[in-house]
Amino acid sequence: MRTQRTGYWVGFVVVLGLLTVAPLVLPEFWRRFVTEILIWGLLAMSSDLLIGYTGMVSFGHSAFFGLGMYGTAAALLALGPPSLWLALSSGLVSAAVVAAFVAYFATRLRDIYFAITTLVFSQIFYVIIFTWTDMTGGENGLTFSQPPFSIPGLGSGRFTPVTLHWFVLGVVTLSYLGLRRITQSPFGMVLQSIRENEARTRAIGYHVERYKIVAVMLSGLFAGLAGVLYAIQNKFAAPDFVLFLVSGEAVIFNVMGGMGTLVGPVAGAAFFLLLREAFSRFFPEYYLIPVGVIFTLMVVFLPQGLLGFLRRRLNA
């Protein structure tokens, strides 16, 4: 146990160190690529809290992600001088409101019904955003300029690709540690016990629905955070990111990387983006054909995912 934990932290520091120096040594394209992996990895981790730890497959994470993007856009376009922290909190609040709404209704259902309900909710938000052109820009979405990076009391400066990467890395690392703490807390233990046996958890006396609602809300909050980061990196919010394909990708990341490990989904996101990159060199628009085949094969033959074999060590 002791050595396992030491091994884990050594690994953590090594990976963090590599990710910190990555933007300094990588060429422009791959620097951006790594930043993007981190952002999608955060989305993947957020849905892992539900899929891997609570046993609920959500097909609606695009709603949280997308609302995080639109919340950011709203703060940067409508409110005073563009401020990073204001944008961040606005994105988080929008995602949280949507997450609370979805959580309240969807957690009354189990298994596939939960999956379908979350899917339907994300579709409702998609239709609203897509058709409410005055407010959301409809199909075109909203574009804005990047807010400057600022630390209150210390001054501010423009984001360069390198500082943006570090900012994203910092947020994602803190989120990872937070999520890890959540899964190891008594609360997280109850979630895992719901995954293993919901009826028994209820019989012991836990209010299962309440735990599920909080789990969905937390998960939605972190998904929203990923949306905020993505919006800041790309300087736009678009309805495509509320579309269910993004939710589907979050699920793919989890399956590919290994559910219930938090790190696995990030690796899954990296693997997926690499596959997409590799295949889109050969068939630009149809990369999802080979990726879909690989995904289906992994569901059948490698249900643990790439890092599933490390599950015990990663949760140490």
Binding site: R108, V120, F130, E285, G292, T296, V300
Partner: protein, 289 residues
């Protein structure tokens, strides 16, 4: 105030789309009821069936051959998909079937895009006549669709009720283990059911194709609608899904008198959420004791 004729036209429209949806949804609910598989790729079977229909139609020029060809091709594809991806998943968590069929859906959708391109394709309707319905000309073909769908669903019902294989299917639904003890080849029944479901999806795809262009994205739309219908009607309940399809399509048709069709979809979503909150077993099933 909306004039009465318009309400009637929308009611007929609603029933026609409802019947097509019922044909898609009954395949989905059949597959779910028998093997606990939530087929995320069902709408894509519908879409691909419609595309196969356009190919046969272009080569032969005969609508009925297109319908038949699409059904046979998609049944074969469905059987192949079931054997290769779903059969190994039997006995695992039903959620893994969502994931696997989601993968299949991605592949089918992008395959269609690759093979047929982004421009929608059309099939000419076999029946071009119109009849006078108040001030508008209403195409006979739409009524034909509703009737054909009813005939196919009725045929399925008779088959399930009286056919030997239908009895096998129902026995497998009730008790998989007992059915196999009685000598029913359960794995083959599963494959057969998936093939039937795929063929029904293809049939509805071809019937639907003359009304709108066939495009690669219509599959997801129908997957979602069929899910909503199947949940509202009660999972695994054939009669319930048919009633729910017609009910929801009527609601959407009436709603689109006031809002755009894109927004009218929200009405079915709201019905779904209300159903799940107040009657999670489905609107059209008897209250469980």
């Amino acid at each position: 105030m909306i004039p009465f004729e318009q309400l009637l036209v929308q009611a007929i429209n609603g029933i026609v789309t409802g019947m097509i949806l019922a044909l898609v949804a009954s395949g989905l609910t059949l597959i779910f009821g028998i093997m606990d598989v939530v087929n995320f790729a069902h709408g894509d079977l519908f879409m691909l069936g419609a595309y196969v229909g356009t190919t046969v139609f272009v080569t032969t020029g005969n609508f009925w051959l297109a319908l038949l060809g699409a059904c046979v091709t998609m049944a074969a594809l469905g059987a192949a998909l079931q054997i290769t991806t779903l059969r190994p998943l039997l006995g695992r968590d039903p959620l893994t079937t969502i994931l696997a069929t989601f993968g299949i859906s991605l592949v089918l959708q992008n395959y269609a895009l690759w093979q047929y391109g982004p421009v929608p394709r059309k099939i000419m309707e076999p029946l071009t006549g119109h009849f006078q319905l108040f001030h508008i000309e209403y195409p006979w073909y739409r009524l034909l669709i509703a009737m054909l769908s009813a005939v196919i669903i009725g045929g399925l019902w008779l088959f399930m009720k009286y056919g030997t294989y239908g009895i096998w299917i129902r026995a497998t639904t009730q008790d998989r283990l007992m059915a196999s003890a009685m000598g029913i080849p359960v794995p083959r029944v599963h494959t057969g059911v998936f093939a039937i479901g795929a063929a029904m999806a293809a049939a509805s795809g071809v019937l639907f194709a003359p009304l709108v262009g066939v495009n690669h994205a219509m599959g997801f739309d129908f997957t979602l609608r069929a899910f909503v219908v199947v949940v509202v009607g009660g999972m695994g309940n054939l009669g319930g899904s048919i009633l729910a399809s017609i009910f929801l399509s009527l609601l959407e048709a009436f709603a689109s008198l006031w809002v755009s069709p894109a927004q009218a979809v929200i009405v079915s979503f709201i019905v779904l959420i209300l159903t799940l909150l107040f009657r999670p077993t489905g609107l059209f099933v008897p209250t469980p004791k």
